[in-house]
Symmetry: C2
Subunit: 149 residues, 2 copies
Amino acid sequence: MSEPFEALVRARLQDADQRYTTGRQALVKVLGGAQRPLTAAEIVEVGDLAQSSAYRNLAVLEACGVVHRVSSTDEFARFELAEDLTDHHHHHLICAGCGDVADFTVPDRLESMLAEVAAELTASGDFAVEDHRFDLVGRCRDCQARASA
Amino acid sequence: MSEPFEALVRARLQDADQRYTTGRQALVKVLGGAQRPLTAAEIVEVGDLAQSSAYRNLAVLEACGVVHRVSSTDEFARFELAEDLTDHHHHHLICAGCGDVADFTVPDRLESMLAEVAAELTASGDFAVEDHRFDLVGRCRDCQARASA
DNA sequence: ATTTATGCAAATCGTTTGCAAACCT
DNA sequence: AGGTTTGCAAACGATTTGCATAAAT
């Protein structure tokens, strides 16, 4: 567990007067090892910690800007490391069939345009943009196969 | 209640062997009168129908492609009329403070680019895009004022 | 007449919380 | 020691569901 972002995580927690406990390290490790947002159930299973601790620590990590919450089409919240820790700006493919979420990236010229629109809106004063979501909702390969079966 | 889309709604329900009952008409009317997605609680209050009926009918209307479910940052689902009924393609400004959702539109050249990316992905076969979401998360005017107070 | 929708109250289930024991500094 | 975190079990709350009645065709 010597990921490049470990030090950053520690710093962010310290800034918020929070400890970087074993449980929290486990969460960061699990999320850092996944290449897609995970549900609380998945995290609990792999991370080997109580459900309540998982939720409580995810909340702490979210408040410190370490973890980001992702919503899908199903009833489960999903969690991933904040983008500025992984340095991997991405968007989500959300499967309307199974709820699974996968990461994907878009061309730079599209990102610039998204940023431009956001900047204009913030400049207007009506809405201060903090983040953008560009998600595609559809069917993953598995659910396409399932539908045509 | 003679909105231009009333006939379309009726047709869609009929296609799914569903009745266009008074309760469902009330829901469509309420959603048609709002210029933003509404929570179930808001709908129940204005629409004067039981909560269970509201949820059940929203589910039916959603399955028929009449209503669209929108997720925000809070725990409440929000509902709006499907875009192809209102003929008003738009995106959402999601307030991270109060959870409120407002509609907004983006320049055509951005929409084309979004569509292009979606089409490429679908062509690849890995993911069949059915819909895109471009949402901006931030602070509405009220929550900006509240934060600086 | 028969099928479907309604309202009420109870159940469901992801998530949150109270509390006593274990942990860190 | 003093404050924080943990795990368990109970509570919470938005949404769903069972069932008897009312409405629609």
